[in-house]
Symmetry: C2
Subunit: 410 residues, 2 copies
């Protein structure tokens, strides 16, 4: 008997009708002879409604109490789906973060999973019941409720699948799978049948909003096969799996645009050892994740230091950086939120040289100025002006995905 973990996102459980539809799908999976654990998000819109309520009550809502409020969203969905299952004759039990338990750190609003005890889950599944687990939430060592941050339900699902040694974690969403790029921007985008954890990690971190990045890290670390698919159809989606033979044959698997970046430049910083630590230490301490960092030494012994942070951390990052800039004698701080990061990802880039050069050439042909560059083994990212986002995605997709087979076979 296979153990299947299914995760349903907010739009998949966004209404009473949708919850009943999900119940039918879960029932079918159970009837096929599988053990089923379901992880659910809050009904779409609910988390925002709750955050809004908190914002009305307090000018700066306490982080611990915010988590207590928003954790109710998933709690309600889990119980409603359990009811809906029982209503069609399928035994089901809701389980909350504190009941599994899902033990996390105490960083409210963006807690990290430390451990999951799967014993109680297994006990529920062993009775033949479906376990319906509230995603996105856990408890810290002091039994305070925590949440994992936006998109955390994916992480919950895959971490639970890993802890329970599930055969597959199915991520149900409102899209049909992982695409080579956003189909709303580029009609030529196509669904990928399979993609490696590594590529998915790069795409997830780059704004392909299909899977939350931490969830992919969990899937990779514990080798949990993930199947991303639509809860609105029965079509197969995209399998996210360990790298397999033949995957490198595809040069580029995806092009992604991430608008959630803001750029901060410290101008003419004296080029002394230890300054980077002085700047990025306090930012890390504020739990702000810096994405790209670029430093170019100039001839006069100073350097421009540029980095990017998520847009919602931008104001806090500026507040932290400005006094430091003054202290270390930087000429000034320049910043820009009107940027986009466009990235090209593919396992094939490991063995094929020249992809970066082609990217720059394609962008230059369109007159798009590249402001920052960062590369990894399987990825090239560029920061450009936000207004070029769609254009850049389309021309890169055309040059590197639509036309790549022809060139390679040529």
């Amino acid at each position: 008997m296979a153990l299947i973990v299914q995760k349903y996102g907010g739009t998949s459980v966004g209404s009473v009708e949708r919850i009943k539809a999900v119940a039918t799908r879960v029932a079918a999976t159970r009837a096929a002879g599988n053990s089923v654990a379901v992880v659910v998000s809050a009904m779409s819109g609910e988390t925002n409604r709750l955050l809004e309520l908190a914002a009305q009550v307090a000018s700066k809502p306490d982080a611990r109490e915010s988590d207590v409020v928003i954790a109710t969203g998933e709690q309600i969905t889990a119980a409603l789906l359990s009811m809906a299952l029982q209503d069609i004759g399928v035994r089901a039990t809701s389980m909350l973060g504190f009941q599994l338990p899902v033990l996390t750190s105490s960083v409210y609003g963006r807690a990290r999973i430390k451990s999951i005890d799967a014993d109680r889950l297994r006990a529920v599944l062993d009775t033949g019941a479906v376990a319906v687990i509230a995603g996105f939430q856990g408890v810290d060592a002091g039994s305070s409720i925590t949440t994992l941050g936006r998109g955390g339900s994916d992480t919950s699902a895959i971490a639970i699948a890993a802890a329970a040694k599930a055969d597959v974690c199915e991520i149900y969403t409102d899209v049909e799978g992982v695409f080579t790029t956003d189909p709303r921007i580029c009609p030529a985008a196509r669904k990928l049948a399979r993609i490696s954890f590594e590529e998915m990690l790069e795409l997830a971190s780059l704004g392909a909003k299909v899977l939350q990045i931490r969830s992919v890290e969990f899937a990779k670390r514990y080798n949990v096969p993930v199947h991303v698919r639509s809860s609105f159809s029965d079509a197969l989606g995209t399998w996210v799996v360990q790298e397999e033979a033949g995957m490198e044959d595809v040069l580029v698997s995806g092009v992604a645009a991430d608008r959630n970046e803001a750029k901060i430049t410290l101008q003419r910083v004296p080029d002394r050892p230890g300054l980077a630590a002085k700047i990025f230490g306090p930012i890390a301490k504020a739990h702000i994740v810096v994405d790209m960092i670029i430093q170019n030494a100039s001839e006069d012994g100073t350097t421009d230091l540029t980095f990017t942070v998520p847009q919602n951390d931008y104001n806090r990052a500026l507040e932290i950086v400005q006094p430091i800039a003054a202290e270390i004698g930087a000429a000034g701080v320049k910043s820009d939120t009107d940027v986009v990061k466009v990235s090209v990802v593919g396992l094939g880039m490991r063995s094929h040289a020249g992809v970066a050069a082609r990217i720059f050439a394609v962008l230059a042909d369109e007159g798009i100025n590249v402001e920052m560059i960062s590369t990894s083994e399987i990825k090239v990212s560029v920061v450009i002006a936000a207004k070029y986002a769609e254009l850049a995605v389309r021309v890169l997709h055309k040059a590197l995905i639509e036309e790549s087979f022809d060139e390679e076979s040529a």
Copy 2:
């Protein structure tokens, strides 16, 4: 330093503005040098909204899962009030049923409190913070969320006050205290300054909706002084306390009407020993509380057996009783939901004879037929047709409360 437990009901926390107003009141109590634990209900309307959601998802929502859904109401209020307090500079921490913990039975929807561990509460209070506790909820031995049934937040508050050995439990509500009868029915009703636990118990069980009956039982058992007052004004309310010298001088302290009763009669039941157990055993097993039971033996060896149950248990009670009636050879089952129980309560009735006779005389004068009678040491209750409810309350209030001092001093 006194320890004050304050409980705020649904209308007292019914909006963002009300929650802020409550925060101000709690802050003032704390600033006066008291330790403060606050117990909150769900925002008014929220529990019904959640029950409605459950009813849309399932034709017969599972009881355990219903509790998981509706417990979110108090959870949200507790966290919002904590935020609001912190926003005005008062340290505060929300605590949920599983966090105290409040250990209850597993009868979902109407669980009973088994024990409350006040150690964690005391630890929070000892830091100088206000503890804001979600009322109405607990956990059973298996860590499943339970709720105490409608009005259960009063019970939570007084049980917590008892466990923490609080000096007073203040119950904030939308009325100014306990009245001699419902002022909306009888404009001559007046606020009582003090009332004994015993009288309050009788009034609470009779539909004076100020305090939930189980909460008064807790208060009496653990001798917790209760102060019922309005969250909309600073006026003193009604103290509910142990019986004190002089309290018996007042003949009647209240007149109450309870519309939440339904009457079921088993006609011409053979008058054999053990039949009552056969009838009421299954009803008790279904957790239906029978209020009045009246049996009159007739001459032909049969008896009419009449009893009342809460209206929302009426259908279930009928379903249980009908096959039993057939089995034991009753002539039939008659039932009536169009009744009201009107009761007169007062410690003075212990030592003053003739109150019951006066009640019957007053009702007879108005042509009101008494269908059932039940008496205790300090109470006389009659079941009459529902249409006479207001009239009966007014004439009894006039005869026994407004005019009683004159007669006694005459």
